[in-house]
Each structure stands twice: as structure tokens, then as C-alpha cells.
């Protein structure tokens, strides 16, 4: 056994794979947690038509906004739990001491979190869009904007979760912290769908969301990493 030798630097890619695999496996074993935001999203989207009445024009008008607000709340609903369990059971210490860039592992973890939260919202959204008389083009825009938007929200949520991890009453603080930051995502996302519904070009808004998603994947983990180090100290 070659102890006391200089080890070759292990690759980040393999560690990232290990993190994503474990997170998805855990999500499969806790399938109940996974469905909560999804049910929340579906319930809000179906309650609005019941409350507003069956006017086609009205539903078509409010649809993009309602679906987007519901998605935003559903996505942020689970934000506080991103690091909670890892913090409580000590797994966070293993991440921090893994000998890998912590930001890389965090990016992997949050992407896996998005795969089990934001992606399902995106996938079911066409079913709910039907209620709001959305044309096919708008449904595609809705899916694209939700996929990108929930990815941004997942990373914003991770940032808030990391900053409030060690705080008592962290949940209330988390909403205060993250909701204002998520407003631009909501505005651009809902606007993209509204433009598309009105047969206008929504590419610019989608590009803006794509840029935001790229930025948050790259930059948010750099802020989350030191926040987590402070939380476990």
C-alpha cells in the first residue's frame, strides 16, 4: 500500500459524477419529498381558473403570469432543504474535506437538485398550460423559460440556503433573501411566455434567461462554497 507518496490529483469530473449519482439515488429513495413542489405547482395552476371563471380571454391573459408565479413558489418551496440534511448528518463536512474544489461539488449537487425539482415542473407545465388556452408556440416558450428559470432559481435558492443554514429561523430569512433576487427571473420568464402567446418573438427574453442560467451555474457556487464553510465552522 503506497502510503506517504504524492498522490495524483483526482479528477473533479469523477467526483462530480459521484455527487450527482448519489443525489439522484437519494431523490429516488425519498420520492415523497419530490412530489410536494410538483403537487403545489399543479394545485395553484388549477385553482386560478376555478376562481377566475371560465373566460377564455381572461385566462389567456393571466396564464403566463400565474404559471410562472406558481413555478417560482414551487421551486423556492424546497430551497431551504438543499443543504439541510447534509448539514445535520455531517455529509457537508465530507464535501468540504473531499480534496476537491468545493464550488464544483456544489454545482453538481445543485444541478442534481434542479433535475428532481425544476425539471419535473418544466415537464408537467404543458398539461397546465392547456387550462390557460396557450397556443403551441407559447407552450414551447413556457417550457424553455421554466427550464432555464428554475435552474437560476435553484442556484439562487442554494445561495440563500447556504447563507441561512446555521441561522435560527433560517426559513423566513431565506425567503427575504431570495425572493427579491428572483424577481427579474419572474419578470423575464413571464414576459417571454406572454410575448409568445401574443405571437411575438420571445427569443430575446429566452436568451436573457439562458445567460442568467449560465451565470448562476458558474458564479453562485463560488459564493455558496464560503457560506457553507462558515456554516460548519
Amino acid at each position: 500500500m503506497p502510503l506517504m507518496t504524492d498522490r495524483a490529483a483526482p479528477s473533479l469530473a469523477a467526483a462530480v459524477r459521484a455527487v450527482i449519482h448519489r443525489e439522484l439515488l437519494l431523490a429516488m429513495r425519498r420520492i415523497g419529498d419530490l412530489t410536494t413542489p410538483l403537487v403545489f405547482f399543479a394545485v395553484i395552476c388549477t385553482l386560478f381558473p376555478l376562481a377566475l371563471g371560465p373566460s377564455r380571454e381572461l385566462l389567456a391573459l393571466v396564464g403566463p403570469g400565474v404559471v410562472w408565479v406558481a413555478a417560482l413558489l414551487a421551486q423556492l418551496l424546497t430551497a431551504s432543504s438543499i443543504f439541510r440534511q447534509d448539514f445535520e448528518d455531517g455529509a457537508l463536512e465530507l464535501y468540504i474535506l473531499a480534496g476537491q474544489p468545493l464550488a464544483g461539488l456544489i454545482a453538481a449537487k445543485v444541478i442534481a437538485y434542479w433535475v428532481v425539482t425544476g425539471l419535473p415542473l418544466t415537464v408537467v407545465s404543458p398539461l397546465l398550460a392547456v387550462t390557460y388556452q396557450m397556443p403551441a408556440a407559447a407552450v414551447i416558450t413556457l417550457m424553455a423559460s421554466l427550464a432555464l428559470g428554475t435552474l437560476i432559481l435553484a442556484f439562487l435558492g442554494a445561495l440563500g440556503a447556504a447563507l441561512t443554514l446555521a441561522a435560527r429561523q433560517g426559513n423566513a430569512l431565506l425567503s427575504l433573501l431570495v425572493v427579491p433576487l428572483s424577481l427579474p427571473v419572474l419578470i423575464v420568464g413571464a414576459r417571454a411566455v406572454a410575448l409568445s402567446s401574443a405571437q411575438s418573438d420571445a427569443t430575446a427574453a429566452l436568451k436573457l434567461l439562458a445567460a442568467g442560467a449560465l451565470l448562476s451555474v458558474v458564479l453562485a457556487p463560488l459564493a455558496v462554497a464560503p457560506a457553507l464553510r462558515i456554516a460548519v465552522d
Partner: protein
């Protein structure tokens, strides 16, 4: 003189207004087992956390084999804290295999490690269904699948019966005989029974 695996020099740690560690120094060479002793609240865990790089000292230095680079240090050592980091929903084998992948240790045998700590019979049960001792041993099995020179163990004998404790002692002895080192907090451990273990009384060093 060879470079020590771990060297803490005049480390100070404060929590609020309390001084938890006051100018504590510790040097650990290859082949050594250091047992940190002291009453609850004396700073054993804090010292281990400083050594692991989880807690930053306000004064003093921590060096691994002469280097103060954090990533090098993390590859040199393995931390097994009071909180296990095991996931209840995953099996013992999945937990250990994940750790091996995360650390990307040269393919050591996960099954061999589980057998070594005698959890092979419940390796495919979710950790939630294991007893406290079995969970502890599963956590310690992670040390065996990742190769690192220095083991930092916080109360490794908690929840372990005599047989399990002797397994852990055996693993530690094998590790140090191969050139590794081990620092552990163990307030109940009778060091006399293990002649090569070096005791360090934290309370006394900390006055």
C-alpha cells in the same frame, strides 16, 4: 529530522468570548497514534476540527507535511466526525462506495472494508435500519477505502462494544504500521492498554 505529517503550532481558537484553545501545539509523525483526552468542553473536538481545516484558528499555523495548502491537506487526511455523514436511505455499501468515488481512492475493495469492520451481513440494508454500532463501523469503513496518511477521528469508540472496539484498534494499528498516523479524541480510552498510543491531555495543555 523528518517532516511531521501534521504540525499545529500555538493554535488559538475563540468561540464568542470564550477561548476554546489557547496556544496548543501538536506534532504527529508517521507511525504515531495520538489520543486527545480531556473532559467535555476541553476542546478535543475543536482541536481535531482545526487539524482537519474545518475551523480556522485565529492564531497559529496548521501544516501537513510542511505545507499549509488546504487541498493538499485534504487529500492527506480523512475526517470521521461525531456526525457520521451516512445517508439513512442508502445502504451501507452505497454509502462507503460513494465516499470512495468522491475521494477517488485507487480502487480499494469496498466489500473487503465492510468485511473488515464486520458489517458485511447488513451491507445491503439501508443505514436507517442498522444499529448505532453498525452505523459507526460503517462510517469507519470509509477510512479503509480511501487512502490518506492521517486519520482524524472524533470519539471513534462511541457506541462500540468490546469486539467492535478491538476491530477499530486493529484497523488503526495496521494503518500506522504502514506509515500512516492517527489523531483521535477519546475521553474514555485507557491508553495504558495500548502502549504505543500517545496521550495528550487537552485541558492541561490549554491552561
Amino acid at each position: 529530522m523528518t517532516t511531521p505529517i501534521l504540525e499545529l503550532t500555538e493554535v488559538c481558537v475563540e468561540r464568542g468570548d470564550n477561548t476554546v484553545l489557547n496556544r496548543v501545539s501538536l506534532r504527529v509523525d508517521a507511525g504515531e497514534v495520538v489520543v486527545l483526552r480531556g473532559p467535555n468542553g476541553s476542546g478535543k473536538t475543536t482541536l481535531l476540527r482545526v487539524a482537519a481545516g474545518l475551523t480556522a484558528p485565529i492564531e497559529g499555523t496548521v501544516r501537513y507535511r510542511g505545507s499549509d495548502d488546504a487541498v493538499t491537506a485534504q487529500r492527506e487526511m480523512l475526517w470521521c466526525g461525531h456526525k457520521s455523514g451516512l445517508k439513512d436511505e442508502l445502504t451501507a455499501r452505497e454509502n462507503v462506495a460513494w465516499f470512495q468515488q468522491l475521494r477517488q481512492a485507487a480502487a480499494r475493495d469496498v466489500d473487503a472494508a465492510l468485511t473488515r469492520v464486520q458489517v458485511q451481513d447488513c451491507a445491503d440494508r439501508p443505514v436507517a435500519t442498522l444499529s448505532a454500532g453498525q452505523r459507526r463501523r460503517t462510517a469507519l469503513a470509509r477510512l479503509l477505502v480511501a487512502d490518506a496518511n492521517l486519520w482524524l477521528l472524533d470519539e471513534p469508540f462511541t457506541n462500540l462494544d468490546d469486539l467492535s472496539s478491538s476491530i477499530v484498534h486493529e484497523c488503526i494499528n495496521t494503518h500506522v504500521s504502514q506509515g500512516g498516523a492517527c489523531v483521535m479524541a477519546a475521553h474514555q480510552l485507557a491508553v495504558d492498554a495500548h502502549s504505543h498510543y500517545r496521550a495528550m491531555d487537552i485541558g492541561a495543555a490549554n491552561d
